[in-house]
């Protein structure tokens, strides 16, 4: 009796687990008959769609993917088919991206991939995959960055200890030139690229103005609040509430013109000295396997355009995350991403 009970208990645990895991698996049996008829006519989805997101559930990319999938379903843009968002994070996302890049025709029409500037950079740097191994369907939104500081924090850096003004980036450049070490914090992907461009523009070396990499922007902001860095690179949305509460100050707009609202006080680089403005757009887009048919590419690009024009997209996504609305269809997006990639590779000496 006891054995039986224990066994049942153990089995129950395993089963309930298996049930939890099962949900996220894709359940799309290949329907070969349906594919043949789509060759000539315009593409209409006739089976479930798998949306691969190479970041973990709950993060920015995941919310982006699920929001678009929601709007597609609610506005009945995908012929009543189900979109399954699958988070594939193995190998920092490279495995998921490679799977999409090498997918065979057929399933390719039913596979979408979240593809951001933050995904492109490590991919180009660490693997042989390039944006040309994908079809770029659309760019949905663009973000820019600012430099923030927390002057009220405990002075832990050389610059702060030497009495440097963390509200004045021009003074920090001057101090760095005269031998006081200034340190900037930010995340791995987009922010470090912006830092590189900033450094090149103001003509300093990493030994004069250093950079500490954090796993996420929120970690970097924490470091600024704790006084561990002098300045932190962040997108407006992540820093917004700290600016509102007075904990962070916007010091420099990394854009061609000033921001509005509570960030309007931050000058651009050309305003504080004889420099060009530094602006590295951070884009969020959607890609697909290279083997996706042209009809399907046209269909998805169009559907994504409808999503970007919907009210829900504006109120529930763009406004909430303070992003710039910038839809580019497949042709414009491909051109844009290709240029971005070439620029990045040239800057990092990649070929």
């Amino acid at each position: 009796m006891k054995k039986l009970m224990a066994l049942t208990l153990a089995l129950l645990m395993t089963l309930s687990l298996a049930a939890c895991g099962g949900k996220t698996e894709q359940s799309a049996p290949a329907d070969s008959k349906g594919d043949a008829s789509t060759e000539t006519a315009a593409f209409v989805p006739s089976k479930n769609i798998t949306w691969i997101c190479t970041s973990s559930a709950g993060g920015g990319s995941d919310i982006f993917s699920r929001k678009i999938a929601d709007i597609m379903k609610n506005d009945n843009l995908v012929n009543g088919q189900t979109i399954v968002v699958s988070n594939e994070t193995d190998g920092s996302g490279e495995v998921g991206r490679n799977k999409v890049a090498t997918m065979k025709a057929g399933d390719a029409d039913y596979t979408l991939l979240t593809f951001n500037s933050g995904d492109l950079m490590p991919m180009v740097k660490n693997t042989k995959n390039r944006s040309s191994n994908f079809r770029i369907l659309a760019i949905m939104a663009v973000d820019k960055q600012l430099l923030f500081s927390c002057p009220a924090s405990e002075a832990k850096t050389d610059y702060a200890k030497a009495g440097g003004d963390q509200n004045d980036f021009a003074a920090a450049i001057e101090a760095a030139k005269n031998g006081t070490f200034v340190v900037i914090g930010g995340s791995k992907g987009d922010d470090i690229t912006t830092y590189g461009k900033l450094l090149a523009e103001i003509g300093l070396t990493e030994q004069q103005m250093g950079y500490i990499t954090y796993d996420s922007t929120s970690d970097a902001i924490t470091a600024a609040l704790g006084g561990n860095v002098d300045f932190v690179i962040s997108k407006p949305a992540a820093a917004s509430q700290y600016v509102e509460s007075g904990d962070l100050n916007a010091v420099l707009a990394l854009a061609n013109e000033r921001y509005s609202g509570n960030l309007a006080g931050a000058p651009t680089l050309s305003e504080i000295g004889d420099y060009n403005n530094v602006e590295v757009p951070v884009w969020r887009g959607v890609a697909a396997p290279a083997s996706m048919s042209d009809e399907a590419v046209a269909f998805w690009s169009d559907v994504l355009g409808k999503v970007s024009a919907s009210d829900a997209w504006h109120t529930e996504y763009l406004e909430k995350n303070q992003l710039i609305d910038e839809y580019k269809d497949t042709a414009a997006a491909t051109e844009y991403v290709t240029a971005y990639e070439a620029d990045y590779m040239a800057a990092n000496g990649l070929s």
Partner: protein
């Protein structure tokens, strides 16, 4: 005083019938999921998060808080009964919990873990109530140099696990550090030891690695012991029955575990508050500290003090981690990040404004933690007799069941077979190492702590431009450095003194 008034208002929210129900449901589900080896609090919270979407934010976060909390309790069950730590904070619980269960006192070991969790958690919540927002700013005072020193202190806990052969112990520790360094460099993003393999670019995933090294290695061991076990069972006439009453701790047990529990509870809370340290560092520092105090049995052989120190610190740190999460929006751990994701889904922005803009939510959550703590304790005690039945299942049935659980747990971390492969490989390697007298625990601790230590130390050196002065330029750093030196030097001094005394006796 103001805090207590707010807390009372919070209880009004938390004691609404639907919130009590959510809390109870969260406690039961969390305990079940947390008790499954390899799931642990991080995967548990992630799996159960979607359940809470149906509720309003306050009810949902109360349920999530209860889930988080009871997951922490549950993690110790498989550690004690099967020697499979559900997640990293439970590694140190297994060190003494499993030997104690093997000694024939599994009920008491579970009860000790539950009681220590409860007391440690209560201490954590009390400190959180009193200081909530102040505590968070205290955490910010810790720079990279301070964190490096704290992690060095946590690292010393490895030395207690090394066992009889120090060389083998050091080899295995280095192996843990080596495995941890596979993947992307945390600061520069450059690939390390990935040998052109795309999977290795993301590093060796923690959960499958630990399930393999400990859980699956255990299965291979069980296969070898199968025949012996059947013979033993045939000879055994009366099987021991265990009830709640028989699992009760004696007054003496309680006296043994109380001091380490309170010490670890207070210390764990503060470690939990530090950004990026979380429950794992908490339980390891707690365990390392306990080594310096007296315990009746040697630590690592089933000492109840060891279970108490590790569990109290881990639950206190879980409570402490809420301070930076709520007041600054900083998740202290992976689980914290899932909670943060949940909060943002409901349109709440944890951060400096949260206590002002949503007081009923913040205090509702804090007061619900008191409730969750009590509920979880009750549920945990009630399930002890059921859990103990696991131990009376014959080995031949346990082998396939644990194997299944190992595979499912390894698969669920990233929903891919990669985790399962890592689990099998590390299981076989873990078994071979263990068979040849290499203890695996130091490898796991090194695997968890080394990346954190590397990250903080390198950041400290960037900030100081390579100067060592950064580790000694404030009183706090000097105190931490002194603690570290005392911890590593006392055994050396002791052995020198012993040798000198022996010489004197000879002369």
């Amino acid at each position: 005083m103001e805090n207590f008034l707010s807390l009372l208002a919070g209880f009004q929210v938390a004691l609404a019938p639907e919130n009590i129900g959510a809390c109870l449901l969260g406690a039961v589900l969390g305990l079940i999921v947390g008790a499954m080896p390899g799931i642990g609090s991080l995967a548990g919270c992630a799996l159960l998060l979607p359940l809470t979407y149906k509720f309003n934010p306050t009810t949902a976060i109360i349920m999530l808080g209860a889930l988080y909390y009871s997951n922490m309790y549950g993690g110790s069950f498989s550690a004690i009964l099967l020697n499979i730590p559900g997640d990293s904070p439970a590694i140190t619980t297994a060190l003494d919990g499993y030997p104690m269960a093997k000694k024939g006192r599994p009920g008491q070991a579970l009860m000790a873990a539950n009681m220590a969790s409860f007391i440690g958690g209560t201490i954590g919540i009390l400190i959180l109530t009193l200081t909530a927002s102040g505590l968070a700013t205290l955490g910010l005072k810790f720079g990279y140099a301070e964190m490096t020193l704290i992690l060095l202190i946590a690292m010393t806990s490895i030395s207690w696990l090394i066992g009889e052969n120090p060389i083998k112990g050091i080899v295995i520790t280095m192996l843990g550090i080596l495995v941890a360094s596979i993947g992307m460099d945390t600061l520069s993003g450059a690939p390390r030891f990935e040998f052109g393999n795309m999977y290795l670019l993301g590093g060796v995933p923690f959960t499958p690695f630990i399930i393999g090294c400990v859980g699956f290695a255990q299965v291979i061991k069980l296969i070898n012991e199968r025949e012996a076990d059947e013979k033993k069972r045939a000879n055994e006439d009366s099987k021991t029955k265990l009830s709640i009453r028989q699992s009760m701790l004696t007054g003496h047990d309680f006296k043994r575990m109380l001091p380490p529990t309170i010490r670890s509870g207070v210390m764990g809370t503060f470690v939990g508050v530090l950004p990026g340290s979380g429950a794992t560092t908490g339980s390891m520092v707690g365990y390392a500290m306990q080594k310096k105090f007296k315990s009746e049995e040697p630590m690592g052989t089933g000492a109840i003090e060891g279970i108490a120190a590790s569990e109290a610190a881990n639950n206190a740190a879980a409570a402490g981690a809420f301070a930076p999460l709520l007041a600054l929006g900083i998740p202290g751990s992976g689980t914290g990040a899932v909670l943060l994701g949940g909060l943002m889904m409901w349109g709440l922005n944890p951060g400096p404004l949260l206590f002002d803009s949503n007081p009923e939510f913040c205090w509702g959550l804090i007061s619900s933690m008191y409730m969750a703590n009590v509920f979880t304790l009750l549920v945990a005690i009630l399930v002890i007799p059921f859990l103990i039945k696991i131990l009376s299942v014959p080995v031949k049935y346990m082998i396939p069941i644990i194997t299944c659980v190992c595979i499912v747990g390894a698969y669920s971390t990233s929903n891919s077979m990669y985790g399962v492969i890592v689990m099998f490989v590390s299981g076989i390697v873990g078994y071979l190492l263990d068979k040849n007298g290499f203890p695996t625990a130091p490898m796991l601790l090194a695997f968890v702590l080394a990346p954190m230590l590397e990250k903080n130390m390198r950041k400290a050196f960037i900030a100081s431009q390579g100067s060592l002065k950064i580790f000694v330029d404030s009183p706090l750093k000097l105190v931490l450095l002194a603690v570290f030196l005392v911890l590593i030097l006392t055994p050396v001094v002791k052995s020198i003194r012993r040798k000198m005394q022996a010489k004197k006796a000879q002369a």
